[in-house]
Subunit: 162 residues, 8 copies
């Protein structure tokens, strides 16, 4: 992530990866305040064994795109609605609208959990264990909704807030 102030937004990604048993590191790389670290982090990522990078940033968010320009590891970008950002529009467009040749896999505003899931999905292309967990995750999601449907039916829509 680009700043320690992004941690509350990025934490769900970490929690998801932990729940799947996928090892990860969570650190700060600021494109604008630590550009040299950006360069060294991104260029060494693959040889360090990193398979997917999740980069979250807000405002004129250059971190995900700059990492993507420096590595062949897939980069997932999380636009963050930081206090400086224009309701998140700047964060989204700065990450999404990358030029031809250097894609960033962008997820929804503040959707770091989805970034974690997407990382697992990418790893699951070749890792059957992760893939099975994803299948289980989808089933749980579905049954959670099913449960809420039953509860709503039992309680009635007028009593749901009580």
């Amino acid at each position: 992530m680009g700043s320690d102030s992004d941690l509350p937004v990025m934490q769900p990604a970490a929690e998801f990866l932990k729940s799947f048993g996928i090892p990860f590191e969570l650190t700060i790389v600021s494109a604008h305040r630590t550009p040299q670290r950006l360069l060294s982090y991104a260029t060494k990522a693959r040889q360090r064994g990193i398979k997917v990078i999740i980069a979250g940033a807000g405002g004129a968010a250059h971190l995900p795109g700059m990492i993507a320009s420096l590595t062949t590891v897939p980069v997932i970008g999380v636009p963050i609605k930081s206090s400086n950002s224009l309701d998140g529009w700047d964060s989204i467009l700065s990450i999404l609208q990358m030029p031809n040749g250097v894609p960033v896999a962008t997820v929804a505003l503040n959707a770091s959990k989805n970034a974690g899931i997407l990382a697992a999905t990418i790893l699951g292309v070749h890792d059957e264990k992760i893939h099975e967990k994803l299948v289980g995750f989808k089933i749980t999601m579905e049954s959670d909704v099913q449960e809420k449907i039953s509860k709503l039916k039992k309680d009635g829509w007028q009593n749901t807030f009580d």
Copy 2:
């Protein structure tokens, strides 16, 4: 893709994959006009051996998100600025702003080539041959720019249009 009218926008993805020797199929699945085909295509994708799905659509673009809800294969979404779309804003938001649990790896408006590159990057996590081609692709991109720099220097900026 969601419609045959999307073909001109999606063709660069096909051309990129072909240039990398990555086998692919290019077909039409319309979320709104062939919903049953959507269901069957998405649910069978993984068992058919498909490793990444690139889905392009415009306007209220539901195709990428609906496929992602039906499969554990990573889905790359290409927002298309179709004649019906609001300068592409609807396409982008309908694909990008997926709810928690079901990510779509979104690329820039009309950026199907980047979708192809992202697919290669995802496959390159485990496929060394594809990875090497990506390294070569990056080097070529860089040297193409270098060539243009030399040409600009030689010709002078005032003669570049002559």
Copy 3:
């Protein structure tokens, strides 16, 4: 609705229908988390006797459009300004900008009450009782305003807050 978190926004629709004595069911169908249920719910709606479907969803809101692709029952879409949404712009565009062939009757952001009224209006095309209630509803609306005009006149605009 697409999620139980949408209930507070959707409740006014239920309350309006109840006040008109129009039977209805209120349940959860998630396009992204329960796609199979979406398919089965939408395809069976007409044979189950459902005459109008009101579908509310936020963010990349695919529920109304996907239902509309699967049924010949009129679908009213309610864009919801959920916590994930970009001030509701994503919800609106994902529901409104449907391609040719598959319309969704979209109402204003969070305007579930209007969705209920629109449903009654559609039923009122052939149901004279509902139509009469709509006439009465319009008269009441008008006289409510009239009352406020009188109150404002009596109290004076400077005392209205007291």
Copy 4:
């Protein structure tokens, strides 16, 4: 429609209704230039036997909402991207964002064909013949896509433009 200049955009609605054998009238009612006609047209619509009104307008598009305030007939609004409009955003928001009590069933920008289909869907709630035509329409739409899929398969994506 609000102006004769809207005719090219509204014609697909007329053509669709004609193809379904649904009788209709197509005329001009300008909210701003013929407000008295607006009043008389809207208040008499139901007693004249009109079952659905499709109203298209651009810019500060007041026609659909004002008709809806004056009748209990369902009103479908078509935002038109006229030469005066701000890329259609004004047309969309002026029609969609109606206050509580007076809904307009809004369709996508310039989507007059969808307005025609929605009108048929509303009539199809009680008219079995129209409903059957809608079922047929959906099947044709699906088979048209199917045909394009076959053609794309046969021709190959590289030869589609030749």
Copy 5:
């Protein structure tokens, strides 16, 4: 104004007019809930001696434009950021983007005080007393700023919050 909920936003206009001794009436005319009243109010305004109309409304704000279509009295429109509105964008565009032939003098979002000043400016074209008050108003505005400049200079910018 279109609704009694708009009163807090519209009150500064009333207060300004009162401070200038310009007689006015403040009432509710809802374009959507009392369309007949709208018609009668607007068409009779000039013969009742009304010289300027200030109309405030939010969301799909049709009130100012519909009044303008029904009278030759100048109409000043105040876009209101109501709870239903899309951050005020719908209010602005619905009032501002009037078609050729029917202008509305639009002021800034929620700027009812400016609507009052503009009304005084319009009246001041022929009414020398009002004009003199406007001259005085501008002088006061300027000297208020001058006072703040002096205070800032005396206190120092670091002590201004103490």
Copy 6:
């Protein structure tokens, strides 16, 4: 107007005023390139007998607001969609969103004709001759629409383009 390139957009205002026999001058005052002229033009306007000022400008359009700050003559602002502007959004917001104390009567994007009509409406508050012309103008507008309605009815909507 702020630049001679704005003339095509502003000409309809001149033509409308000419058709009403209202004397006017049409000249260029650039807020950014001739700020001294702006000051002198605006401060002397009223004593020169000018009763209404129409100011058109595009991009960061400061002309209307700066004139309004310097005079007690009513200022009508015309946002112009110039080649430099962001689809006109910058022009609209720079003119419309004036602070409390200094209103500009803003009309729609490029709507210089409406600016002319609004000027006539403001003059018509006290000038009965101009007012009568406005009444006539409204009647003509209405009968023009009526004629188009008759033509459409006679020709049929399918033959209107032939």
Copy 7:
């Protein structure tokens, strides 16, 4: 700045300049309420020895551009998200979109600190002492991030909020 209410937003610029030992004055110049002061302030700025002007304003923010039209001193514009502004979009566009010939060096919304830094950077082109402070400032920024990285590593991401 255009108003004393902008002081909380503009204070970080003053604090930054003070920390760098760069002499400055902080005052109010309102383009709309004190246009004569604007003229005199801007035209005399250079002869008074002012080397850079930082101008902050919100809404239809004309201050930075009008100063730039009246002086050859570089003008840095700070768009302010004031209570009157449309989420800051009006402030940004009114300052940024200046016509050819009169540039304003615009910084991010509310980013007065960056305006201070930019002023120092401009002065640092010829002032080696200021330049050295900028080099130090960048190093401090970098080491601050480095410290946070270490802290995050030591504490672990799960304990950071404790």
Copy 8:
């Protein structure tokens, strides 16, 4: 500039600097395709004697901000409305919305000439010759407008197009 395709947009900057006799180099540095060159170009800029950098880029435009993070030379950013960009909104927000600590002096969309003028203005703080040229430039701009005013007066507004 970020790409040779940006040359037509950036050329006016070069022409302006040439007309002022300010020496400059015009070259390509792509943040995404030549990140190493970006690093080396930016870090060496000051010691090479470069006093101001003008960086133009479109879409997710990271070039100006990344250069600013790597140098203490003032950076002027030109948002370019390239074929890939979302009407330029992405270009503007990616350049303008820089975080605290790393400002970019942003000019209007495609306004490379203004970037050149701003560069001259920055140099003119200490270089009296450049400053004098700026004074002359402003006078010429003003007299050009004056000439157009005279021409418009002589020809009449109706004959200007002939």
